[in-house]
Symmetry: C3
Subunit: 157 residues, 3 copies
């Protein structure tokens, strides 16, 4: 992309289903729209949870397998720890005006961001278009996603 | 990449050694080849497991540290849980005609995808070219990888 | 990026706070500088630990949630296992002349790489510019990061 002085488009893949797996992609998409950059989000694998009506409100922080959380693994596995850490992270985000996932998705959609679900993952988890929130534009193959992403940056989160 | 109407090349980095860490990269590479897009995969860190003859058949799902699995951490740590979850995921993938990792790698190779191992990681894990499956083209430095990736999209998975 | 025969710039996002989450981004940035490629690193979420003076020396391997480590989860949660695995990984890296994180950051900085912290994450973790090592150039919004990244590759690690 030589001689490019501006990014025109970002196509973000969200593939993880934890709070810290979903937010970076949403923040990158939102930041793009705020700068007038075209933004697509492609939800795949466990990332589908973020657009699945029954699950999008219940996404949690991973308290084990993340030494940066500062929670010893022995405590991290205790029932309730993930919910507790998630509650703390959500509170901090609220103070920063970072909305909960469902509202954030609505906000990105209203700002012109486009949301898509990955067909192979949708089939793997036996989901249907109706299982997703209204802001989801379509269910796409990987090939469709590449077409959509041409001329921009692909960011896998 | 203004005025680009098609992606010409994707160079995918696979850096994780769990089933859900390896498949997205393979699916992205395969989807690229199906659309006539040049595809390179660069295996690094724990991602090397996916091309290591002794390990590529034994890659498992991470049952802890992934709240989206819906398995409480206290249960997720039980011996056998990871194998059980892996078996379930593998069965679902089979139903979708997504092949096991060794066959998937062969398929991508046969379709013209190129596979490479990262030199620094190969040295860190004290591996040799012979430890890898036959489809692996070469062991490359990060600098070589950048040369290979010019004119395309780099996707770190 | 057709007709491109060389990558001019990489802008790497480091979002995880474990050893295996931080090193790939540093290795990619260092490899870029060694090839004369412009390199920016944007530290966000738990990735901020890698530039936080009080934490950059204490980053650990995630022993649970990573089946590739070959450590059963039941053992992975034992107090001290993460430190033990980290010690082993650090020793292997030393043998390869891969420096500890603080030295690696200094090396990348000295080679002309630029380091930035993500504003939203800095606010979320209630950090200040003074909490970061001297090599950190600035605290940027996502929009600033996109401007900085134009004409190059964005790599989210």
């Amino acid at each position: 992309m030589p001689n490019d002085d501006k990014i025109k488009k970002v196509s973000i893949i969200i593939s993880k289903g934890s709070l810290e797996g979903v937010y970076p992609g949403l923040i990158l998409a939102n930041g793009a729209r705020m700068k007038g950059i075209e933004a697509n989000i492609f939800f795949t694998f466990f990332g589908l949870d973020a657009i699945t009506k029954k699950k999008m409100n219940k996404i949690k922080v991973a308290t084990v397998g993340n030494p940066a959380m500062g929670i010893p693994s022995l405590i991290g596995i205790m029932p309730g720890m993930s919910a507790l850490a998630s509650g703390m992270m959500k509170k901090q985000m609220e103070q920063l005006d970072i909305p909960p996932i469902p509202e954030f998705i609505e906000m990105i959609y209203d700002a012109g961001g486009k949301l898509y679900a990955c067909l192979a993952s949708v089939e793997m988890f036996k989901l249907k278009k109706e299982d997703f929130c209204d802001q989801v534009e379509d269910v796409l193959t990987v090939g469709d996603f590449y077409e959509l992403s041409a001329g921009g940056q692909i960011i896998f989160t």
